[in-house]
Assembly symmetry: C2
Homo-oligomer: 384 residues x 2
């Protein structure tokens, strides 16, 4: 096939960046200490609060990946020897645990099978057993399994204890409802290359309330680059050189998100997530997750199909990038995203190429079955 | 004046980014774990070695500002209570010291007046007095004063001791000769938004030799995001999501630098630096630095001129951004850069606008004096 390869990114991050955002980033780099830039930064960081649904809190943007923002949360809230509860139900829960251990935190782990969602009562029990825990570290959307936890109810459980609730919303922000003020979440970290529709390059940390800031004051873990106190003092500027062109892009992307309205953004993700789950079932496959969310759908493959081959054919032959499985799930699952700058026809393209690749690998099914399921769902749900 | 404001960035970072580099960064974001991206990353990181003049060493690119790369050097080479020598002769020497202190390092400070350059014999003496020092932290180009140290001779002094030489080349890389292998430098940190001609967003750490890697092995300082071992293991990929679009830009900028040739890049900066020093003298001003380099020129202002007003007029009226003084030098000096994507006519524009602003502030001089000096120098030195 000698066709021009048109490119589709349907993976859970980086996600497609709108052309108008990319071009915004191609504007001339200006100096970060000029009033001209500080105004842009101020608008962008004020706008960022909308993404986290907070007016009480503050949002800081590090030049880092999401992992940098996770480290920042640990470094700024805790001191060596502190006790923290951490939920581990996938690769990103493991990352919280690994960061906590690297910094000498005494971790109480709630370990679950990959694909399971921690229940509010599990957190409640852990907090009752560990009243001296300073923080609960959770993963709102566990990207490795497509699982989304009930953050609202979990927040309710943590709210009236002495511990703060910290959540990794790197992949969930904007794809799943998250209301920092209303639900009473203390600290949320995220990144630029998922729902926010930017290239990778910014890590976000949102923080609200006295309980969280008090921990920041008390924290003795060594830190410099991610020291929140320096960011707080210099806001809306960064204490060090910010990613100037990313801030242009952030402002532009927030304008787009505001124009759509955050409820519509959430609803778009819900519709695409539900459509994807229906299409998966139409192919005779099962979901990995016990509580699937609207960020990415993890699909169990029959043993006869090698997931690594499948994603390779989709990518190299058809130009469609989805994600495979991580760690012990490598080759055994595929993950189809519905995250960020995506609409119904991205999902259509994903399943069209998936069907063609499945056919090539000898899987028996009726060609078009997943597309028919998508069409039926879209016909009902895109009427508005 | 109602003219369209044409914009000139003549500050020591961020520096102007070539349009072809900016547009490269506006290409579609692709997934960072695809062979397609890994090939780009591999080429970019191989190319980056040329910037540091190393084939023996490795270069890693963090998603961070230069300060992040500085923290990475400290976190990865040292352990709490270790002794390190640090040169403090300006704002960025202070930053080394502050990071070292934040991580509990026992610092031996060589403190100099701002504008002075540490001498190789000062380092030699400090090492003799502190044979247990694990590292010497230096600032190749102290951006706050325009001073460049004799790194080659300093490297010679440190080479035969047990200590490693770490240098902050954030602003000097490509503007001043730096030959990691030939001079025997152990660790160099830099950033993307200076000589490398990219927007801010990448921090670089180059490391070579057994002495440095042995310290990395021994280091017990807590770290995760900047943990070099994770980067080494995953190279040329990043362990966490890299700044995909910055890597496109890095590859493009390195192609441009290779086409010019690094010796020509150094020579271009030398010519622009010397031209700038001549123009400064033609206006009757003095240099702040005792050992001025070719990155940025710091100019002492007479008491009658407020540097803050001067830079504001240049920026807001003429669209030309230079830098003022930092800390106790605020308002007392200006800093004119010749760094990165700059040619003779950027220097011409800087001095043209500087003269107009000086005139407005009542400084007595012959209009055109600095431009005449530049023309005479350029006529001689741009003949080739």
């Amino acid at each position: 096939m000698n066709f021009l390869k048109k490119f589709y990114l349907v993976a859970p991050g980086p996600t497609p960046v709108p052309h108008e955002v990319l071009l915004e980033g191609a504007n001339e780099t200006i100096h970060h200490r000029t009033p001209q830039f500080i105004n842009i930064m101020k608008e962008a960081m004020e706008g960022a609060k909308y993404l986290f649904q907070t007016t009480e809190g503050e949002v800081y943007a590090f030049v880092s990946s999401g992992t940098g923002a996770m480290e920042a949360a640990v470094q700024n809230l805790l001191s060596a020897g502190d006790k923290a509860i951490v939920v581990v139900a996938g690769k990103f829960g493991e990352r919280w645990r690994d960061i906590l251990k690297a910094f000498g935190i005494n971790t109480i782990e709630i370990e679950l099978e990959w694909g399971e969602a921690v229940r509010p009562e599990d957190i409640k029990k852990a907090l009752e057993e560990n009243p001296d825990a300073k923080a609960v570290f959770t993963t709102h959307s566990e990207t490795s399994t497509g699982t989304v936890i009930d953050l609202e109810r979990i927040a309710r459980v943590v709210k009236d204890t002495d511990a703060v609730l910290v959540t990794d919303a790197v992949s969930s922000l904007l794809a799943e409802p998250l209301k920092m003020d209303e639900w009473g979440i203390d600290v949320v970290v995220s990144g630029s290359q998922k729902g926010v529709m930017l290239p990778p390059g910014l890590g976000f940390l949102a923080i609200r309330g006295e309980k969280a800031w008090k921990l920041v004051e008390q924290s003795t873990l060594p830190k410099y680059y991610f020291d929140l106190k320096a960011y707080k003092k210099k806001a809306p500027e960064n204490p060090y050189t910010p990613a100037v062109n990313h801030i242009y892009m952030l402002k532009k992307a927030i304008d787009m998100i505001k124009e759509e309205g955050i409820e519509n953004v959430w609803e778009r993700h819900r519709v695409l997530g539900e459509a994807t789950r229906k299409a998966v079932k139409a192919l005779g496959f099962e979901l990995l997750s016990k509580r699937p969310g609207n960020v990415v759908t993890a699909v169990k493959l029959p043993e006869s199909i090698d997931g690594t081959k499948l994603t390779k054919i989709m990518r190299d032959k058809y130009g469609v990038t989805i994600a495979g499985g991580q760690a012990h799930l490598k080759g055994k699952i595929i993950r189809i995203a519905h995250l960020g700058y995506m609409g119904p026809f991205d999902t259509i393209a994903a399943f069209s190429s998936l069907e063609l690749a499945l056919k090539e690998l000898g899987y028996k099914f009726e060609l078009g079955a997943s597309l028919k399921a998508l069409q039926e769902y879209f016909a009902e749900n895109l009427k508005g």
